[in-house]
């Protein structure tokens, strides 16, 4: 069984024989009698960013509709913190490729939607989200409509909305793939920093292997017909061996639009144990070790391992 070990400065901070924070066991799903995914097993530890890569049409998004509880699996079950949450919508944060911001609501109203849907009044909800706007690089955009924002900014707002809904476990379905190359790269660095600061746990679908390598601790590969998990690749170890591991808090390649403060605003949930949140790998772009992983993963995807 997996243990959630976290080694910092040679000291074991926690060694809990716990079950993974988020877990899918033997998930199968059919559409119109046709099996789309079969016996998918995966897990994500708390604070981990895990990627799911595979060719398109393999059932990644189908898997997500099951993991998010929007649809009932035809076999298997989904567990969050040990609890069976299969077919329970609203237990995890969910973000898609299109930003899906409501065009008729301002950015702050959009971001506050989870609070409003939870029964909060409009004004207090909007007031509550203000500090987050700044921390997520959206300062000054609160009163604007989504159409007035760039694609990257809209994705930030969409991410923040998902984050404010459920920050403990997030499902991100190709969140950056609709962006142009420059914006995409900036958004990946932004996401890396936000994930570090907030310590979110996330499962990320992407068809970009470099993105998967840069952003995640582990990578799952999907393949076959019906789709299943074909391999699992450890990235975190390579990052640990990297010189950039655990060095300071500043990102070397600063985003032009990055907010002044690295401090999470009040209310952003800390890890319960109070440990440093997120992945302490400092963004350094692709290193040799990561390039090697990228090649291996590409090979595996190409040859359908």
């Amino acid at each position: 069984m997996d243990t959630d070990n976290r080694v910092v400065d040679g000291e074991i901070l926690e060694m809990l024989p716990t079950r993974p924070f988020f877990e899918a066991r033997g998930i199968s799903k059919n559409y119109e009698g046709e099996p789309v995914i079969r016996d998918v097993d995966l897990y994500i530890n708390r604070g981990e960013i895990v990627s799911l890569v595979g060719p398109s049409g393999i059932g990644k998004t189908t898997l997500f509709t099951v993991l998010s509880g929007l649809e009932k699996p035809d076999g298997g079950a989904v567990f969050l913190a040990g609890e069976d949450v299969s077919a329970q919508a609203g237990r995890v944060g969910y973000m898609l490729q299109e930003d899906l911001l409501l065009p008729f609501k301002t950015v702050e109203e959009n971001v506050a939607m989870p609070l409003i849907l939870g029964g909060e009044k409009r004004r207090p909800a909007i007031k509550k989200v203000q500090p987050y706007l700044e921390a997520f690089g959206l300062a000054g955009t609160g009163g604007k409509y989504p159409a007035q924002l760039s694609g990257g900014m809209r994705q930030r707002a969409a991410f923040l909305r998902a984050y404010l809904f459920r920050s403990d476990m997030m499902l991100l379905d190709e969140p950056f793939s609709a962006l142009d190359a420059l914006t995409k790269s900036a958004m990946e660095q932004w996401f890396h920093r936000i994930a570090r600061e907030t310590g979110v746990t996330a499962l990320l679908i992407t068809h970009d292997i470099e993105e998967a390598v840069l952003l995640s601790d582990r990578i799952y590969l999907m393949g076959g017909h019906p789709g299943r998990i074909t391999a699992q690749v450890d990235v975190a170890s390579a990052k640990r061996g990297d010189a950039a591991w655990g060095k300071g808090t500043a990102t070397p390649n600063r985003l032009r639009e990055r907010p002044g403060s690295m401090v999470a605003p009040e209310g952003i949930r800390e890890r319960p144990d109070g440990a440093a949140v997120g992945n302490p790998w400092v963004w350094g772009g692709m290193t040799d070790a990561l390039r090697k992983i990228k090649e291996d993963v590409t090979e595996m995807v190409m040859h359908g391992v």
Partner: protein
């Protein structure tokens, strides 16, 4: 020349030609009064026209309000329950193929010469465009958006108020735009069949008196009222959709 000027010039030329035809006596005045005569009739009868307009506009407003309320109710029911949609949609289409002018006399027989048959005629003509517009808008929201809202635990009522209604506003107002003009015409037609006041009643009277100048005056008034109503609906649409304008000022 800006786009708005083309129709203005066209109408100016048309009126000049019309005036010439009348002045040179090409068509006798009792059959086609000159624009000047129509304008005179319009001014002289203005108090009378205003009084009748109040009646007609009142009926149109009542009928339209009823249509909108019912359309909202049924559009939501159709959107929520597939069975309601399957039952009502064909019925709603049939009401559009029934010739209103043929049914109107029956309605008068059943409901008398009061306001009731007029409201009924307006309802029959106005309900459908609003219903179809609104239902189309409600049911065409991107499925991914609804999935996302559902993933955030939104109830159907919350989806309606936060997503579906705002998305449907454009389609709703296209329907309302048509219905607003239908409402006035519907009121006038139903007034032809009987009543004590209203532009339709006025029309019937002047027609019987062969007062063609007044006939033209009331036709022009109805046209103006319809145009003003369309403008009002458009203004309301703009006021309720500030995000549409925000797009251009990025």
């Amino acid at each position: 020349m800006s786009n708005g000027k083309y129709p203005v010039v066209f109408f100016a030329v048309l009126i000049i030609v019309w005036q010439c035809i009348s002045s040179f006596g090409l068509v006798p005045a009792f059959m086609l009064p000159s624009p000047v005569a129509v304008a005179k009739a319009f001014v002289t009868d203005l108090p009378l026209l205003a009084m009748h307009s109040v009646t007609t506009l009142g009926e149109a407003a009542l009928g339209l309000a009823l249509s909108v309320v019912m359309a909202v109710l049924f559009a939501v029911l159709m959107d929520r329950f597939a069975a309601v949609k399957k039952t009502l949609y064909p019925v709603a289409v049939v009401t559009q193929t029934v010739p209103t002018i043929a049914v109107a006399p029956l309605l008068v027989l059943w409901m008398g010469y009061g306001v009731a048959p007029k409201i009924a005629v307006i309802f029959i003509t106005c309900f459908f465009p609003v219903l179809i517009g609104l239902y189309g808008g409600l049911s065409s929201v991107e499925p991914a958006m609804l999935r996302l809202m559902k993933s955030m635990g939104a109830t159907y009522l919350q989806m309606l108020t936060h997503v579906k209604f705002p998305y449907a506003l454009g389609a709703f107002f296209s329907g309302l735009r048509i219905s607003a003009t239908y409402a006035v015409v519907g009121a006038v037609i139903s007034e032809w069949l009987g009543g004590n006041s209203g532009l339709g009643v006025y029309m019937t009277r002047v027609r019987k008196g062969y007062a063609f100048d007044k006939m033209f005056a009331v036709i022009i008034l109805i046209t103006i009222i319809s145009l003003v109503l369309i403008r009002l609906v458009d203004a309301l649409h703009r006021a309720l959709t500030p995000w549409e304008r925000a797009k251009s000022e990025r």
